[in-house]
Amino acid sequence: MNSVEEIQQDIIEEFEFLADDRESTIFYIMELGQKLPAMDESLKTEENIIKGCQSKVWLTSDYKDGKVYFTADSNTDITKGLISLLIRILSGQTPDTILNTELNFVEKIGMSQVIGSQRSNGFNAMIKQMKLYALGYRAKAQVNK
């Protein structure tokens, strides 16, 4: 498994390739969304909806062998694409890594200019929710020690 830094660097390079073409960038994000494995319908509960996103985003997580695995879905492909980027970086990492990772790719690829302020707020809500899951697992692991 590559480190979070390496994955972020890969993403930055992929987006650099799209240069400043906003349309192509959006299509690329959409395509990433379409590739995200579908989430089991039973997991699309009110409880799993991330608050603060304008479109619907469901996020759940599992904790196995000290690592957190995320599953997510959305009713829009662009949003799915955005969360797939986060899953690519953070899923399969330890709670500590998730909590300590600075997601600097967001700024480097100029995400807020591409997706606009409303979706940026939603994107930040996704990151926050992933970190909250990690925080929960870390606390639980410490109690079980």
Binding site: R22, F27, M30, T76, I78, R119
Partner: protein
């Protein structure tokens, strides 16, 4: 298309030249502004009126003896006169300045509504309403124990007069309906609604936010009791709107807010209220924007409502025809009578995503529920993509729009 242009006597290029905001590129493409139902752009004469007011005669209005106050007061009251003529009100005192349509409706609900609605009374709205014409009445019903009745909407996005009449009873006190729907463009049969409501003694408020810039609005011919609208949807400034009310109703209504301007005399024991319209205009109003509003009315008057309607109808017909030809597009709201609003969904793509793709090509549309969540629910939708037209839009812009949608459709195959 050419036939449609010939029908219109308007010089669209000359009209466009009056709108500085239209002369720009967005994301490398010339701006195509199709979000006019949300807010229209402003012609230079409106922008200059604002500039002129602040540069030359900014002053608080009424009760000032100095020259600037006099000038500002005259300009402010001139807008009231323009509006009176614009909607053919009987008297200028029947025009109350507000922040916009929402405040106008809230004003009526909070004053006339509180005064006249009791437990068990009924208020009728339609399933097409904007949240602004739902929530104030819900609040009133909750406070008074009254009942909100909703006229159903057909799959075409129309209301049926018989359905409306079936809801009328001696309990009906207020009917509040949209002149034209912001989400679907449907023009409601308001004249017949008003006639039927009056027969059983109910008063009728028209939410004319989507009508004033596009349709002939004559409050005396319609015989509506109240009419609410916003300046910013009719080429005027934001933060300004008006309420029309029949004199005898406005006079019997209690004030909406307390403060300066709305009083005749104040002692610590008792306050007597000013006459209409000032009774409802507490505090220093939005003087600058109200003065500039007059220029927006002038702009519409110069073009002529009939000319505007003919041209916008041609735009709507052209766009409807072109959009229907795209496989993945499904129009939502196909009423027989519509203002220039095209609501649609795009198969296999969420409205937000379509909106973002169009923006990447410089095309501004609105996506989402358009503040009509109950209506969207009826169609089983979370939202639509909405293109809405104004008099400065062109057939070429519709071609660009359709070409972009076709390109997106091909790309997601």
């Amino acid at each position: 298309m050419e036939a449609a242009i010939k029908q219109s006597s308007l010089d669209i290029a000359a009209i466009r030249a009056q709108f500085p905001v239209l002369k720009q590129e967005v994301n490398g493409y010339p701006l195509t502004y199709f979000d006019n139902a949300a807010t229209s752009q402003k012609p230079l004469r409106v922008i200059e009126a604002l500039n002129q007011y602040y540069s030359a005669y900014n002053s608080n209005i009424h009760r000032g003896v100095h020259t600037l106050a006099e000038k500002a007061t005259n300009a402010y009251e001139a807008t009231r006169n323009s509006l009176q003529k614009f909607i053919n009100a009987n008297e200028k005192e029947e025009i109350i300045f507000t922040k916009g349509t929402s405040e106008s409706i809230n004003l009526v609900a909070a004053t006339y509504g509180r005064q006249n609605i009791s437990e068990g009374d009924e208020i009728i709205i339609t399933g097409l309403e904007h949240h602004s014409n739902i929530v104030p009445w819900q609040m009133l019903c909750e406070e008074k124990g009254a009942i909100l009745k909703v006229v159903p909407v057909s799959n075409q996005g129309e209301i049926n007069l018989d359905d409306f009449k079936a809801l009328l009873s001696d309990k009906t006190k207020i009917v509040s309906v949209a002149f034209a729907s912001n989400a679907l463009g449907t023009i409601n049969p308001v004249k017949q609604i008003i006639e039927a409501a009056h027969k059983i003694g109910a008063v009728v408020l028209l939410d004319a936010a989507q009508a004033v810039a596009h349709l002939e609005v004559d409050v005396q011919a319609l015989d509506c009791d109240f009419l609410a609208a916003s300046a910013h949807k009719m080429y005027g400034p934001t933060g300004v709107g008006f309420l029309y009310g029949k004199r005898h109703l406005l006079e019997q209504m209690p004030p909406y807010q307390g403060g300066g301007e709305m009083i005749k005399e104040v002692t610590f024991e008792k306050t007597t209220y000013n006459d209409i319209p000032f009774k409802f205009e507490a505090g220093t109003p939005n003087i600058a924007d109200i003065i500039a509003f007059s220029e927006a009315i002038g702009f519409i008057n110069e073009l002529g409502k009939e000319n505007i309607r003919v041209y916008e109808d041609a735009l709507l017909d052209y766009a409807t025809q072109k959009l229907t030809a795209i496989d993945k597009v499904k129009l939502i709201g196909t009423a027989q009578h519509k203002v220039g609003v095209l609501s649609f969904i795009f198969e296999g793509m969420h409205p937000f995503d379509v909106g973002m793709m169009l923006d990447a090509r410089g095309i501004a549309v609105r996506t989402g529920h358009h503040c009509t969540m109950p209506l969207m629910e009826q169609f089983g939708l979370e939202g639509t993509i909405r293109a809405s037209f104004a008099v400065y839009n062109t057939f070429e812009e519709i071609d660009t729009f359709v070409a972009s949608l076709t390109k997106i459709a091909n790309r997601i195959k």
